[in-house]
Every structure is written in C-alpha cells, then in structure tokens.
C-alpha cells in the first residue's frame, strides 16, 4: 500500500440481523474507498445510506459482514485508539466529569503517561478556544461548546486519523457556520487525515477536499467529487461561484437518492 493512502476500504458490505429476521437490514453494499493521507474526505448521503456504518467500520467499532478495511497497511479488527480518534454527534462527553477531566480521561484510556496529560489537555483546549472553561461541566456549556470540548478530547489523543460523525448535526445553523470556519483553520494546522460524515451540502463543500456521495439504502458510493480549494477555507469561499456550482452538483446527485429514501420510509 502506497504511503499516500491512509485508509483503504475494499468491497465492504454490512447487514444488521440475519436473513429472515424482522430486524434484518442491509446497510452497506460493496463499497470501496481510498482516503489519502492528510485529506479531509466527506461522506454525504440520504438517511440510512450507511455512511455512519462505514465510519464505524473504518474506526474498528463495527466488523464488516464482508470486505476489508486497512489503516496504514494494518487490517482493522477493533478500535485503534493510537491511530484513530472519534468525534460523535453529541452526548459523548461524560456528564459527571469536567471538560478537563473528560480530556484527561481520554488520554488515560489511550495510555498516555500521566506526566504528559495535563500539558496536552491544556494545549488542545487552547486550540479549540475553551481554555477558560476547563473546570465546567458539560451540562453548563452550550451545544457548540460541548462539541468543541469533544473535539479537544479527540485532538489531545494525537492520532493521525480523525473520524467525525455529524459533529455539528445537533447544532443550529449559525453555530455550525462558526464552528465550520474554526474547524477549517484548526485542521489546516494539524495535518490530519479526516473522514467527516454530514447531512449538510454546504458543510461538505466548505470543509472537504473530496466528497463521497452515497446512494440510498443499501448504500454504496455513487460518485466522488473533488473540491479544489486551498486550506484554510476563507468565509468568502462560501459565497463564490465555485462553491455554488459544487453545491449544485451535490444537490443534483443527492436529490433522487433522498426522494428514494423518503418513499421507502412511507
């Protein structure tokens, strides 16, 4: 495997439950994907298309029914806390710990020596702009700040790969906008490989180097679009013609799939 490819997914399928059971669902069918080192790849698609399933398989939280996933040449058979860090949509912070304690705990789990933990935690809190909120509890923070904290926790683990499952999905539009811009700035400094699941077309175009568009369930990757724009992305990019054209292209690809999914649900 060339050193350029951080994540290699080959012919992966996944189904929940066994055939004949009422719960049987084919989530993902025959999907393949290469994620280049240092790029930000977005997964976008209608509900239930399997994008979160794929993310969990890359992260070792789920075993594919068939197919393989490789991280830096190693096959993935379980969580790889030293290579991969997750940011979930919400509620992944431990409510009984402060923000700082949450971050320190993550490092304890990973196995970072005690002496290094505090410094790393403070650095990542600075990076996300939460240095003054280290002693706060998650319930005392707004949704946006909680997600910053979750991001700080992931960053403190100093992994090469970051997997983000709709991290801004529970937030309002304005907070998303601000966090999206801040994220772009942060990531341009951090040099990580990132796979980012989202529902938002604008978010995908604004943040990603490439966008993988999923079809309706059972999902597979329909097409991959490249976004050729240097990082960090400026706010001006959002109002440019290039942005609008890419967004429209995504919309065209997705619209039928979304309709198909809605029809199936009724």
């Amino acid at each position: 495997m060339t050193p350029d490819i951080a994540i290699r997914v080959r012919n992966v399928t996944h189904q929940f439950g066994e055939e004949g059971e009422t719960r049987h669902v084919r989530a993902l069918s025959d999907t393949s994907l290469d994620v280049k080192r240092g790029e930000l790849l977005c997964l976008i698609g209608p509900s239930g298309c399997g994008k979160s399933t794929l993310l969990n398989m890359i992260g070792g939280l789920l075993t594919p029914t068939s197919g393989t996933v490789e991280i830096a040449g190693k096959p993935v058979r379980g969580p790889l806390p030293h290579d991969i860090a997750f940011v979930f949509q919400e509620n992944a912070l431990f409510p009984w710990n402060t923000v700082l304690e949450n971050i320190l705990l993550g490092m304890l789990f990973q196995g970072v020596p005690k002496a290094e933990r505090e410094a790393r935690a403070r650095r990542s809190l600075e990076a996300v702009g939460l240095a003054d909120f280290a002693q706060h509890y998650p319930a005392q923070l707004s949704g946006g700040m909680r997600q910053r904290a979750a991001l700080a926790r992931a960053l403190s683990l100093e992994t090469d790969i970051l997997l983000m499952d709709e991290p801004f999905g529970a937030l309002d539009e304005q907070t998303r906008m601000v966090l999206g811009e801040d994220l772009s700035v942060l990531l341009s400094r951090a040099r990580k490989t990132i796979v980012f699941v989202t529902h938002s077309l604008g978010e995908a175009v604004f943040l990603a180097d490439r966008v993988a568009v999923f079809s309706a369930r059972p999902g597979t990757i329909k097409q991959v679009i490249a976004v050729d724009e240097p990082h960090p992305r400026k706010p001006a990019f959002m109002t440019s013609d290039k942005f609008t054209a890419l967004r429209n292209q995504l919309y065209g690809l997705l619209h039928d799939e979304i309709r198909k999914t809605m029809a199936e649900a009724t």
Partner: protein
C-alpha cells in the same frame, strides 16, 4: 390596605408558614380532644406526652431497647447496601444474568414478606439477628433494582466513545459505569432505608418478649397512652433522622453537577 389583606398577601407568599400553622392547629386539636373529649385511658395530650418523656426514658429497659433498635437499623442498612451493591452489579453488568435472574428477584420482591415474619423469628431467634435479617430482606431489593437500572440505562454512546479511545474493561467499569450509576445508587439507598425501617420495626413490634415490642405491649395492656405515645414519638424521631440523613446524602453526593 387593610391589615387583613396584608396578612393574606404575606401568607400567600410563604406557604411554609401556613404549613407550620396547619401542624400547630392539628397539635392543638389533639391537645383539646385528649384533654376534654376522649377518656384519658385512650389518648394523651401532646403536652403531657412531652412532659413525660423522661419517665419513658426512665422506665427500666427502655433506653437499652432503643439502643438495640438503632443498632439493628444501622447494621441492617449496612448489610443491605453491601449485598445490594454486589448483587446489583453482578446482575446489571452481565446481560444474560439480568435476563434470567431479574424475574426471580422481582418475584421475591413482590412477595408479601410479612407472612414469613414468624419464620424469621423461628429461624433466627428473638434477638437482634432476626430483626436485622428481616430488615435486610426488605432493604436489599430497592437497592438491587436501582443499581441494575443505573447500570442499564447508560447511554450506549458513552460506552462506544470510551471503547474508541482504547478503554479496557476495567477502565470502562471504573470510569464510566461506576460514576454513571452513583445517582441511582443513592436513590436506591434512600428507598432501602425506608425498607430497612419497615422490616426492623415490624420485627421489633412482633417480638413482644424483648426489645421495644415488649414495651409497646406493656404500655398498651396497662392503658398508658402517655408513655406509649412517648415511645412511639422517640421511634418516629429516629426514623425521621435516619431518613433525613440518607436524603441529604443523596442530594450532596448523588447528583452529577449541572447548572
């Protein structure tokens, strides 16, 4: 602005005062009824009960009986918590154990234990052991149920998140499951204390050859409502204090921090 409406406004803003007022009115009604209406053989006014508390305490054997009762309550509670914690964790953490054992536990919990009180006395004797055992048998179930609930209703994403960061099974137990279950544990202890009080006091009242049951029977048979009410008041105060301790502990330690 009349005096009446000012008073009315004040009372409306402070329901606590009205509450105290209601209690005072009830006490007065009790006082008047006991003095003028009811035969003194059957009821004693609160003033007399209060004044005679030292006589109750002076009755030979009563202080010892009260001390033993308190000891039984404390020990029964401690044992209930210990056993409840162990069983609760064992059942709550293992899904197959929960599936098979919980129905049995619920069945036992639903059984009217009062029917086997005489059996407890026959098995354990008339000393503190039977009272403690009966208390534990009432107090342990709410604790087990609360712990199982506390372990079960943990949001899966917290476990997934910990796993993704490389947490070992021990890490998850110590840093995720245990802190998550603490509020439920304290709520369970509060209910457990109620159960222990019920169990121990039932057993004590039943055994009328020793302990407070002996004195309640004695005071009843001698038509001595003054000392009977005095004894009951002391026990009621004991119950209130113990319940309050657990309640305060729950408020102090049993909640995660939130604004």
């Amino acid at each position: 602005m009349t005096a009446a409406s000012t008073i009315r406004r004040a009372l409306l803003r402070h329901p606590g005062w009205v509450r105290i007022g209601v209690v005072v009115i009830l006490l007065c009604a009790w006082e008047l009824a006991a003095r003028f209406v009811v035969d003194p053989m059957f009821l004693s006014p609160p003033s007399r009960v209060l004044a005679s508390l030292d006589r109750v305490w002076g009755t030979p054997g009563v202080p010892a009986a009260l001390r033993v009762t308190f000891f039984e309550l404390a020990v029964a509670f401690a044992i209930s918590v210990a056993i409840g914690l162990v069983i609760g964790l064992a059942v709550g953490l293992q899904s197959f154990a929960r599936l098979s054992v919980m129905p049995i536990i619920l069945l036992l919990y639903g059984m009217p234990q009062i029917t086997i009180l005489p059996l407890f006395i026959l098995f354990f004797g008339i000393g503190p052991a039977s009272k403690i055992a009966f208390g534990v048998s009432h107090g342990v179930f709410p604790i087990v149920l609360a712990i199982v609930a506390g372990v079960q209703n943990i949001k899966p994403i917290l476990l997934t998140s910990a796993r993704s960061m490389g947490a070992s099974r021990w890490h998850i137990l110590r840093y995720v499951i245990f802190p998550h279950m603490i509020p439920s544990f304290f709520a369970g202890m509060r209910l457990g204390m109620t159960g222990v009080l019920l169990g121990v006091l039932l057993a004590e009242l039943y055994v009328s050859t020793a302990g407070i049951g002996h004195f309640t029977t004695q005071f009843t048979q001698n038509f001595d409502p003054t000392r009977l009410l005095g004894l009951i008041s002391i026990l009621a105060a004991m119950a209130i204090v113990l319940n309050e301790i657990v309640r305060r502990a729950e408020i102090r330690f049993g909640k995660w921090h939130s604004s």
